[in-house]
Amino acid sequence: MNIYEYFELLFTDYTLRTITLGTAVLGAICGMLGSFAVLRKQSLLGDAISHAALPGIALAFLITGAKDSNILLIGALVSGLIGTFWIRGIITKTHLKTDTALGLILSLFFGFGMLLLTFIQKQPNANQAGLDKYLFGQAATLLEKDVFLMMIVTGICLVILLLFWKEFKILLFDADYTKTLGFNTRFIDILITFFIVLAIVLGLQTVGVILMSAMLLAPAAAARQWTNRLSTMVVLAAIFGAFSGVFGTAISASQNNLSTGPVIVLVAAVFVLFSFIFSPGRGLLFREIRFRKNRRDLELQKTLQFMYGIAQTHENISHPHAIKILNNFQGFTRKTLQKLEEKNWITLSGQQWAMTTVGYKEAKNLYNQQEQDD
């Protein structure tokens, strides 16, 4: 099956449609909430939370003996939340720094989770197979009810975001100030963190414990490159996330053996790479172009300034001078002289140059502009 067939099948094949819808919704909610995680500089929190969810999945299975995805997700949610609050507790109660706390909780919970997984696999129970799919995720196991749950959570999350938009924004920008205005910053903080944990847990089945944080961060990091508005960033991140989900699913479905989670993450990474290079405001390409253009302009201006200095000393500003006298000044080349002539700032004839009135005015204003800028 190639990509075109996939998109044709999308309208007829029920399973494919469910999976695609699921990954799209997942990408959208992760992109939205990821924007907040990135702006709070809590990028790694997502990684810690997703790893912390693993023992919850294993314990939920051990306790209930059932492999119902909703029950496992509740387990993941509980242990993810416990992990999150432990991290916060460690940061506020001890001298340890955030990165240490994150690393500690991440490896502790993940280690415990892996231990439980191997324990489960050793048990003589036919039901135990397939729990390890939560490590790397398996989109093919998405059922309609899973997607339905994702959509409900995304809807609630959207309503909360719209309601508390102002509060989220100000907390992200300036938490101390928010407190002085009388807002309960703890409540806003917990609300936002809870939804981040929820989004991560929802994605575990599809993308898996190990790669889940990329779903959260990549669309947000890409979106930040294109805009200087928070609202646009959140919307863009949601769109990037949704497209990563759809394209990732399409690629993995058309190449039979590729697992969906890693492909989705890679597609998201392509969004990031593209944004880092090609975004007009912050992208590397345009920054380089602006840099070169500035350097060229500066060279022109320096030469013009030098000529202005010479022309100033003469009664007639358009009095011709030998090009040679520019020699002790390093900034000029044949090309800059030609450029200056093109702009009608100087006239060239033979080995001599002369300033025009336009050029003289331009050079004079150059000084003024610089003074105004300071």
Partner: protein, 245 residues
């Protein structure tokens, strides 16, 4: 000169990790003064402001604003944090940051409307930044960012202003612009408490001063207590400044 008491601090003690940062501070600040808090690095100047504002929880002591606990008087108080305390690469504009000053009176969930926008624009004009209203905040200079923070507090239309080093890293023209606004506020009867580092400008800018070094060394009118004895007590070395009276 009998004045109302704007802020009263009793026995305030703050500690980070068992080490006291502020020790048993008693402070009475009369209404309508422009007060500098001076002291060496680590003296607890910012901490004092943050403890009064409830950003940091003190281990002992109480604060009252016009005779009532701070929680009931929030709307009377505005805060200008240190410029370096936020990430200026945050995706937002100058006008948007100033609008945040209206969030407190709006309360939960309600969005700012035309009235709030008008107030924000007026504040922008007051700090001479109207031309930059749609500028992404990372593209503002340090001085401009400081003006934005000041404008955000102005929008709150408070009676008491707390400012944490508003002159830090700004050029001469911004410093003059800011001090003129502060003096104007005082004339309008507001009370201003400013963490300040440049001792040379204290007599020129302020009419009230508090010397702080973990403990309160002295507090009172600049004319009476801004002298070498208090400076030496606060900074620990034999400090001499030329004060032109």
């Amino acid at each position: 000169m009998k004045k109302n008491i704007a802020i009263q601090v009793d026995d305030l003690t703050v500690a980070y990790n068992y080490k006291p940062v502020l020790w048993d501070i008693d402070l009475v600040i009369p209404e309508g003064v422009l007060m500098a808090i001076v002291g060496p690095n680590g003296a607890g100047k910012s901490t004092l402001i943050k403890a009064i504002l409830g950003i940091i929880k003190p281990i002992a002591g109480s604060v009252s604003i016009y005779g009532k606990p701070y929680d009931q008087q929030r709307k009377l108080v505005a805060y200008v944090p240190q410029k370096g305390s936020v990430d200026w690469d945050f995706p937002t504009t100058a006008l948007d940051v100033i609008m945040m000053g209206t969030y407190g009176s709006l309360g939960w969930i309600k969005r700012p409307g035309q009235k709030e926008k008008k107030a924000a624009l007026e504040a922008l004009e007051k700090v001479g930044m109207l031309a930059f209203k749609n500028r992404q905040i990372s593209q503002l200079s340090g001085g401009q960012q400081q003006r934005i923070f000041l404008a955000r507090a102005l929008v709150q239309n408070a009676s008491i202003y707390f400012m944490d080093e508003p002159f830090q890293g700004v050029d001469a023209s911004t410093e003059i612009a800011i001090i003129n606004i502060l003096k104007e506020l005082r004339k309008a009867g507001k009370t201003l408490i400013v963490v300040h580092h440049d001792l040379q400008t204290v007599p020129e800018y302020f009419d009230w001063v508090t010397f702080l070094n973990v403990k309160k060394i002295a507090t009172g009118p600049v004319k009476e207590i801004f002298n070498d004895t208090n400076l030496t007590k606060t900074y620990g070395i034999n400090y001499k400044v030329a004060i032109n009276k």
